[in-house]
Amino acid sequence: MIEVICNDRLGKKVRVKCNENDTVGDLKKLVGAQTGTNWEKIVLKKWYTIYKDHITLDDYEIHDGMNIELYYN
């Protein structure tokens, strides 16, 4: 289990517990559930890299305590 912090810098900062082998889509669902937003509207970014839904956190090398930028479209 890892904890990832997603911040949209507009007032929402979510600490999400997830598994390493979860996909980015799963993470988005969790974030959506916790913040009360539609997960399909969520975009997770790190600098200019937009994380794709079907790829696991492990493959993106997202580790425990990492910060991920949270955007909406």
């Binding site: 289990m1 912090i5 007032g11 929402k12 900062k13 979510v14 600490r15 999400v16 517990k17 997830c18 598994n19 390493e20 979860d22 799963d26 669902k29 969790l30 559930a33 916790q34 913040t35």
Partner: protein, 684 residues
């Protein structure tokens, strides 16, 4: 900003609703952890391995060391041998030879053993079975029972070999066969083809073939039927046994063989080692074999009693050789090679003979002449002529530099000596005449001595004359210049006068300069004016005092009204003022201020116009001249300073004092300056 977070249970609930796996909260069994563990294990393994290697290498090293020590044990080259008589050459040689022999024997044994082994191996492999199938080119009946024959492969071409295969033959037997055949052929050839009797039929028991005389050529091949070894094994047994050739087959040794062996044992090998090396050391026996000693040699042998000799003597005793009787040492010569010495002596004798022969009477005469010439030279040098010494060299060097300078002084000296009466200013021409005469006389005298320098001395004397005239004109009481050649410099400590004199002497302070005269005049005028002014002032003061007194008196007068008094005072004041102005004007009428602008630099040197301008300019522009220029200027100043501090009476090298010393030493009033045998000048 608050952080939204959910606990594990909440998250799990959410995950369940989303249809995801629950979180795995078990302790970390991530791949990273596994990798780390693996790494750790691997490192440990490596460390262990390294340690083992280290230990192994250490063991190997120590083993190696032990081995080395083992080889190093025992006596070294430098250490004494175990024998107490290590200094004995003979024993050492013997020992070393024995060792060498042993070594050789060991080597030979080893080689023999090896060969034996090789043989054995070969023998073990190679027995009669190996020979099966080989054809022998002889008839079975040719081999006798128990006979030993060596069979070799028959020479054949490749084609033949392919056709028939290898064939074994005995060379001796084939030779014999051929010989027999040849003999037979010869017999046949000698015989006529036809004989009346058919004897052949009876003698050889063979029916003659048709034209049998031509058969012999073919007959050589006809004769050998041969047999194959493997095939006729049983029949061949006896022969094969013979081939194997072992005497053990026969059982016990026969008497003949025993004899043979005995003979072999007592046999002398005629081979000898042709390439025998020369040895450093021969024992006495060896030496006797290799060297033929002359009788003399025995006599002249060194008496040094070394063990070698003693041993030899003992051996000699044993063998009955007479002991050498003691010899007188004086007769002995300690020389090894007689012949060499003899030849050397001969060569020496020849050489000495040659040198003696060379000294012919002519040679002797020549030598004598030479020695005489030498003596003559010595005489000459003693008598006079040209002698080159330190002093002469020095003087000759001086002459060239001082010849011109020194001459002007001479005439004046002459005047002083020859005409001691004081030269008066009233009759300069007369004195000049006298001078000229004396000079002429002097030069004449000189000419007699010098001879070939007439014109020059004359010119010089004339020149000197001119100078002398000038001097006499300038100051009648001028001291003779000669004195100034090496006069004492006045000491500054003595007083101001002497200081002035010194400065004058050095040319630092010139008297009678036009500018100076002007200045002194101006100064005197100024002094006069100042005195005048002072006088006038005093007079004025006096007058003032008188006027005041008068005033006071007037004040006392009763008739003297105030108005009058005021008027008078006014008038008086006016008058006085006028008087004062007049006075001032009069005073300034012949006023000449003594102004001298002097510029002095940092080091206190007086500057001339140019230098002063430069200084001002530098001050104005705020920059100074460059390094080189400054240095140059400093050098100039330094030079001037040095020039000032130099002795004014003598040259820097103290030539004048040297001259004086020389004069004192010579005890004469003059010095002869000469180059070679030509005398240039003489000075006082």
């Amino acid at each position: 900003m608050s952080e939204i977070s959910a606990s594990i249970e909440e998250t799990n609930r959410i995950r369940l609703s989303l249809g995801l796996k629950p979180l795995n909260v078990s302790p970390e069994t991530s791949s990273a952890q596994i990798a780390e563990d693996n790494m750790k294990r691997h490192r440990e393994d490596e460390a262990k391995k390294a340690h083992e290697d280290k230990v192994k290498s250490r063991i190997a090293k120590s083993k190696n060391k032990l081995e080395l020590n083992k080889t190093m044990s025992g006596k070294g080259l430098g250490e004494a041998s175990d024998d107490d008589d290590d200094g004995d050459l003979y024993k050492w040689t013997m020992k070393s030879r024995k060792k060498e022999k042993e070594r050789q024997a060991a080597a030979a044994a080893k080689r023999e053993k090896e060969l034996q082994e090789l043989d054995d191996a070969y023998q073990a492999e190679y027995d009669e079975d190996q020979l099966a199938g080989l054809r022998v080119g002889h008839d079975m009946s040719d081999f006798a029972e128990g006979e030993e024959r060596i069979l070799t492969l028959k020479d054949s071409t490749i084609l033949e070999n392919e056709e028939e295969g290898d064939e074994l033959i005995n060379i001796q037997m084939t030779e014999q066969q051929r010989l027999e055949k040849n003999l037979e052929n010869k017999k046949k050839k000698n015989r006529p083809v036809y004989s009346a009797y058919d004897d052949d039929e009876f003698t050889s028991g063979k029916k003659k073939n048709l034209l049998s005389q031509y058969d012999e050529v073919l007959g050589t091949e006809q004769g050998n039927d041969g047999f194959v070894i493997g095939k006729a094994r049983k029949v061949n047994r006896g022969g094969a046994g013979g081939l194997a050739g072992s005497s053990s087959d026969n059982g016990g040794l026969t008497a003949k063989e025993i004899m043979n062996q005995k003979l072999k044992e007592s046999a002398i090998a005629l081979t000898y080692n042709k390439t025998q090396q020369a040895q450093d050391y021969y024992t006495k026996d060896e030496a006797e074999i290799t060297f033929k000693k002359s009788k003399k040699k025995k006599k002249s042998r060194s008496r040094k009693a070394d063990n070698w000799d003693e041993e030899g003597d003992q051996e000699g005793d044993a063998m009955g050789v007479e002991k050498p009787e003691p010899v007188d040492i004086s007769e002995l010569n300690f020389v090894d090679d007689e012949d060499l010495q003899a030849s050397l002596a001969k060569a020496r004798r020849l050489a000495t003979k040659k040198t003696i022969k060379k000294l012919t009477p002519e040679q002797i005469a020549k030598n004598l002449a030479e020695s005489k010439a030498m003596e003559v030279e010595e005489d000459l040098s003693e008598r006079g002529g040209l002698v080159i010494s330190d002093v002469s060299e020095f003087v000759s060097n001086l002459a060239s530099s001082s010849a011109v300078h020194a001459t002007p002084a001479r005439p004046t000296q002459a005047t002083r000596e020859d005409s001691p009466e004081p030269v008066s200013t009233s009759s300069p021409t007369a004195t000049e005449k006298a001078q000229e005469d004396t000079v002429m006389e002097d030069t004449k005298e000189e000419e007699e001595e010098v001879g070939n320098f007439r014109s020059r001395t004359r010119a010089e004397s004339e020149e000197a004359e001119d100078i002398a005239m000038k001097e006499s004109n300038e100051s009648a009481q001028a001291e003779p210049v000669c004195e100034a050649v090496l006069a004492e410099e006045p000491l500054v400590s003595r007083g101001l006068g002497s200081t002035l004199a010194l400065l004058k002497q050095k040319g630092a302070f010139e008297m009678g300069n036009a500018e100076q005269a002007e200045r002194s005049k101006i100064q005197s005028e100024r002094a006069k004016w100042l005195a005048d002014a002072r006088l006038r002032e005093a007079r004025l003061a006096k007058e003032m005092a008188q006027a005041k007194a008068r005033d006071k008196e007037k004040v006392r007068d009763k008739n003297y009204s105030i108005r009058d008094r005021d008027r008078d005072r006014e008038y008086e004041n006016q008058r006085r003022e006028q008087q004062l102005l007049d006075e001032r004007e009069a005073r300034m009428k012949n006023y000449q201020p003594d102004i001298k602008l002097e510029y002095i630099d940092d080091s206190g040197n007086r500057l001339n116009t140019k230098e002063a301008f430069r200084q001002l300019s530098h001050a104005f522009h705020g920059k100074t001249s460059g390094k080189m220029k400054t240095e140059k200027r400093m050098k100039k100043l330094e030079d001037e300073k040095r020039l000032m501090s130099m002795s004014s009476t003598d040259t820097p090298l103290g030539m004048a004092s040297a001259f004086q010393e020389r004069q004192k030493a010579a005890g004469s009033a003059h010095i002869v300056l000469a180059v070679g045998n030509r005398k240039y000048v003489s000075i006082c």
